[in-house]
Symmetry: C2
Amino acid sequence: MARIVVVTPNPAIDVTYRVQRQTVGDTHRVLETTRRPGGKGVNVARVLDALGLPAVSVLPLGGASGEWMLAALHDLGLRVASIPLTGETRTTVTVADDEAHPTVFSEPGPIVTQAEWGMLATELRRQLDGASMLIISGSLPQRSDATLVESWVAEGHRAGVPVLVDATGDALLAGARAGAEIVKPNLQELLDTTGATAAEPGIRALLDLGARLVVVSRGVDGITASDRDRDYTVDAIGGVSGSPTGAGDAATAGLAAALIDGRAIGEALRWAAALGASAVLRPVAGEVDLDAFHLFLSKDTHTDGAEA
Amino acid sequence: MARIVVVTPNPAIDVTYRVQRQTVGDTHRVLETTRRPGGKGVNVARVLDALGLPAVSVLPLGGASGEWMLAALHDLGLRVASIPLTGETRTTVTVADDEAHPTVFSEPGPIVTQAEWGMLATELRRQLDGASMLIISGSLPQRSDATLVESWVAEGHRAGVPVLVDATGDALLAGARAGAEIVKPNLQELLDTTGATAAEPGIRALLDLGARLVVVSRGVDGITASDRDRDYTVDAIGGVSGSPTGAGDAATAGLAAALIDGRAIGEALRWAAALGASAVLRPVAGEVDLDAFHLFLSKDTHTDGAEA
């Protein structure tokens, strides 16, 4: 059966504090704390698991927070191949009230040594044997060289496994440069990374670097996919409101699941859009509303496939 | 040699995030993370240890964060008698930049079961054997009954050990009611707890409940101590600026150290003021500048002792 390997280079414990009202300079009693294993790749793996696709998460974990995370991933029934770190797995803190936008504090992540990255590469090679797809998702820890992403894409290709890179900045450029089958930034990440002022030249830059297909999620404007010959577009699912955090990760999982299922690109984009929208309906990143997913998928969503 | 038992009912990992600029609703990259074992009693124990006084911390610890905390306390060379919890030891997050006041998010702490409190009482009894003083410091976890404080004070008295309660609200009232030798709120805590609009009636209320001595730290207005017969006052150390977090805990340690050393109340207040000021000079709660402490102590600080 299809097995997907998901590399999360910089996993995090995602902590959410609900408070009465956020005010800079105040002391806040936290009314409710939620604590969940996070990082974009972990969200992707959770959604793949919800779809019934076996995914194995390859990720570095360290310290007491790494141990907590490993236990939490096991509690979720996820398969994990973790590399023990000397450093401490990071935490992100999101503060939410009923009035303002949530405030996020994102730790940069531990220093990962070359030896530890070497162990991750060895584990990745082992897991890629017989795998159907490699997904590399999320940021790199501080002071880690983006060429790591190139080396992971190369490991995928050596094993004959297609690679999807969902990252931004140098990691995204490295994925494109290494010839990833799919790179998947959102629009803002695409513009920030390439320095382009519109989507098309940004996409062109990534294709020119070597990416085979550039998938760009554009929020309410849907999702596009572009290779050297064609552009594909799918509309966003309308009328969905809720928590957009993790929607992009769910879309990545949908895209991967559809492609592994042998669907064409246009149909894969529809899966991505429907799964992204079904994640918006759930307050927690990494969770999706599967009933809504199937409902959205059954609707006659508008899909365009045009010669570029 | 004098041994001090410090009960910290609700210890916390104190995390500090330094960011460029705090803004509600923004996503902040954390520039620097510090993580240290905290809780008022832990700060007190660290300062006692710095003074060369052997202290043993009795505290409940649970989960991965409890394990981290235990390791961190051992790394600091502190003696710990911890009670394992099913719940997870809490975290406080302080966000700091160079402009605004720090913003604090304080988790309420785990649910501690009656059985777990029973284990703590058993451990406390064991540690009190031959001890010189019992210090009960800081808040209770959520849904914990303040009568716990009464029972701990009673354990101290049963062992013939004087008890100092540094708490607020119901826990402070419980300490007074149980006849603690010293209760030590700051002025705001005194007013909030007793509902008094000035210090004197608030102090009177605690004495009437049963406290033998009420010590009130008043920031720049110094520290007072009041029993049924007398009031003692010591001026604050002037010209000290820095980080006031933990200064009250250092003052508590100074007070305890002086009394165990056989000093009179007026002199003990001078130790408290000097040690509190020496904590302000250090950015981290639980640390003191011992050179500054001895310097402050050598100064001819003004002390008043008047018949009430």
